[in-house]
């Protein structure tokens, strides 16, 4: 059952009970007050009649000392007639409670008569032939006799009023309940709207629409819940996006890996197949064997690089303070400006660096720098200048490698750190590249909480740099104190 419906139903039940009780109590109270008033009047009338009877009895000629039964009847009939307009009904009984006179239609039983004596008055409410009466009874002392006078007063009106009251009240209650239902329905659906919105958002999210958010329409607890839910959804969406990106990256990697793996494998299998099944002349045999060798080498390079990346990703680096100078000296030794233009590294290397102490794993950082220099060489013409520099900055110590080579368009910059990505394959292949160098650099730098920054202009050159934590100041302080 829906929450709003439950709310509505319970409200209506409570409202119906409350209205019912209060209505019943009210109508009954009015009824009882009226009945009491009628009873009081009935008793008053009874007293008046008693008095009237006694007066009449005194006025009887004195020749009789004893009040005759027929005289009593006479007086009673007179009394009844005098009150004709009020519809008065009375009964007179003698000492033995035998009826001496009774009006037409005076038919109640003698229960009340049995209850009264000389000293007590009594009354009761009775129902005769569908009419309600208040029956009163009292003793009358006339001359020497004790008679009992009973009256009947028609109070059907009071009862009818009560019935009418109930009827009217029932109608009012039904109308009130109908109105109440409509209003409560509106209120309930207004109150539960945040819940419905939340439910919809949950469903949408379950269906995979992760950027859907619940609309916040109130500032109460439900509004707070919506707010919290949206925050949760935000966090969830972020995680899911991250996961999706990771999966995409993995798929890309697997795809690229399969391609890079299958190409040399096809060559190796194909040439080996030719060698074993065809009679080839010497030249073709050499060509085939050479391809098998070079493609095998390519596989080897690739697997070593992949291993490096995996080791970096899972390995623990041994961080220590390293002087920037030692790193640059190592590079200087490796990449010398070579006069021999035939050599692989025949570029002009220009080194400039500030003194600094960086927090790093030195062999890893050297790998990164070698890769960057290697790339710079591949992008440059023989004899071109490659600038290698180290500079102190606010953020730390910046290593940068700048070439004046072919550069690359902006769209390529995002992709170059992806595994197996090569801008110019044939060129990279001829330099025995596997497209994994910058991937490795990225892994190493992320271990150092750093990343590659690439600026490049097509045709003018590329500058690749990264920042490491500078420990020089801390080091100096220790030395000075």
């Amino acid at each position: 059952m829906k929450f709003s419906l439950k709310l509505l139903l319970w409200t209506i039940i409570v409202m119906a009970i409350a209205l019912g009780f209060s209505g019943f109590y009210f109508v009954n109270y009015v009824f009882e007050t009226s009945l009491a008033r009628e009873a009081r009047q009935a008793l008053d009338e009874n007293s008046i009649l008693c008095f009237a009877f006694e007066t009449a009895a005194l006025n009887v000629p004195a020749k009789y000392d004893v009040l005759q039964d027929n005289t009593v009847e006479q007086i009673a009939a007179n009394l009844e007639r005098s009150g004709q307009s009020a519809g008065r009904m009375l009964r007179l009984s003698d000492e033995e409670k035998r009826a001496l006179y009774a009006s037409d239609g005076f038919e109640p039983d003698d229960e009340l008569l049995g209850q009264i004596d000389e000293a007590t008055k009594a009354y009761r409410t009775i129902c005769l032939n569908g009419y309600y009466y208040i029956q009163t009874g009292s003793a009358v002392n006339a001359l020497d006799r004790v008679l009992y006078l009973e009256t009947l007063r028609d109070v059907s009106e009071v009862f009818n009023e009560r019935a009418l009251g109930f009827r009217v009240y029932r109608r009012v209650t039904v109308v009130m309940l109908v109105f109440g239902t409509v209003i409560m329905h509106l209120i309930a659906s207004w109150l539960t709207k945040p819940i419905r919105l939340l439910t919809r958002a949950t469903k949408r999210m379950a269906e995979g629409d992760y950027d859907y958010r619940a609309r916040q329409i109130s500032s109460d607890e439900l509004g707070q819940l919506t707010l919290d839910f949206n925050q949760m959804a935000e966090a969830l969406e972020e995680n899911i996006n991250k996961l999706e990106d990771e999966i995409q990256a993995k798929e890309d990697f697997v795809g690229a890996f399969a391609h890079e793996l299958k190409t040399p494998l096809t060559a190796i299998i194909g040439y080996a197949d030719m060698l074993r099944s065809r009679k080839l002349d010497e030249e073709k045999s050499f060509l085939s064997a050479n391809y098998i060798y070079t493609e095998g080498k390519r596989l080897e390079t690739m697997s070593i690089r992949l291993l490096d990346i995996m080791v970096t990703r899972h390995g623990q680096a041994q961080f220590q303070d390293v002087t920037a100078e030692s790193l640059f000296l190592y590079l200087k030794d490796m990449f010398k400006t070579n006069e021999d233009m035939e050599s692989v590294y025949s570029m002009e290397f220009v080194y400039s660096y500030d003194k600094a102490m960086v927090w790093a794993e030195s062999s890893m950082i050297i790998t990164v720098l070698i890769n960057l220099l290697d790339n710079a060489c591949k992008a440059s013409e023989p004899g071109a200048v490659i600038e290698v520099s180290g500079k102190k900055e606010e953020a730390g110590y910046r290593f940068s490698v700048k070439d004046h080579g072919i550069g690359m368009p902006k769209s390529e910059i995002q992709k170059i750190t992806k595994a197996f990505y090569m801008i110019d394959k044939s060129r990279s292949r001829s330099h025995n590249g596997a497209g994994l160098g910058l991937s490795l650099c990225t892994e190493i730098l992320s271990l150092h909480n750093s990343s590659l920054e690439v600026e490049s202009i097509l045709g003018e050159g590329t500058k690749v740099s990264f920042v490491l934590e500078d420990r020089m100041e801390a080091g100096n302080e220790e030395i000075h104190h």
């Binding site: 391609h259 060559a267 194909g270 197949d273 099944s277 065809r278 060509l287 085939s288 391809y291 044939s426």
Partner: protein, 219 residues
């Protein structure tokens, strides 16, 4: 002579295909990127294009878009193994699909099959005094018809398409019988013996130790 254009950015693969198809009597041209391929297709008439998908310049799908109106048969060569990649290639109008790494025999067979579909393959295979009409499934020796069973005919065509190539028992069995080879069957040897006898090829169909058979032809 049938001219085939090979488009692959990997030179070793290009050379591999070139060597094998040339040995089967096709004239091959190699090109290493998509844009050059389109230039060449514009200038020359090719009977078949072998097209790699991952290419610098224009990729295989782009080249395919260009080739389709020319009605030149195309076989895609790719490392992508996924069904959706294959479907994409075939939907674009490729005639066949070759997944790296591939067997040389498979390459030759697929090339033959596609060319035959376009009625470009030599319908008549000739070795010495034996002439085979592949379409009509007739074998003539010195102009006289020789009756062969289905399997024998299949074997003969395979040998004639791969002259001087040692064909492995597995490959022969899989191509002709279409079953997995389990290595214990004498069926193949029996059929080869029947072929030798019927064609008088006792000297030409040579058993290669531990490999299979080779049709030796002196040209």
């Amino acid at each position: 002579m049938i001219k085939i254009l090979i488009v692959d950015d990997e030179k070793p693969i290009c050379d591999l295909i070139d060597l094998n198809l040339s040995a089967s009597g096709y004239r091959c041209t190699c090109v290493q990127n998509g844009l050059d391929a389109i230039d060449l297709i514009e200038k020359e008439n090719y009977d078949l294009i072998l097209l790699d998908i991952m290419l610098p310049g224009a990729d295989g799908y782009d080249v395919m878009e260009y080739v389709r109106p020319l009605k030149i048969p195309v076989i895609f060569i790719t490392a992508k193994h996924e069904v959706r990649d294959r479907v994409k290639g075939l939907k674009l109008g490729a005639d066949d699909y070759l997944v790296k790494p591939f067997d040389v025999v498979e390459l030759v067979a697929r090339v033959e099959a596609v060319l035959r579909r376009y009625n470009k393959a030599d319908k008549m295979l000739t070795v010495g005094n034996i002439v085979v009409d592949v379409e009509a499934r007739r074998v003539l020796k010195n102009g006289k018809e020789i009756v062969l069973t289905n399997k024998e005919f299949g074997l003969l065509v395979l040998f004639m398409q791969n002259k001087n190539v040692a064909l492995f028992r597995e490959a022969l069995y899989e191509k002709v019988w279409g079953d997995e080879y389990f290595g214990d069957s004498r069926t193949l040897d029996l059929h080869v013996q029947r072929l030798r006898k019927k064609l008088g090829w006792e000297q030409n169909l040579v058993a290669v130790y531990k490999v299979g058979y080779r049709l030796e032809v002196t040209e």
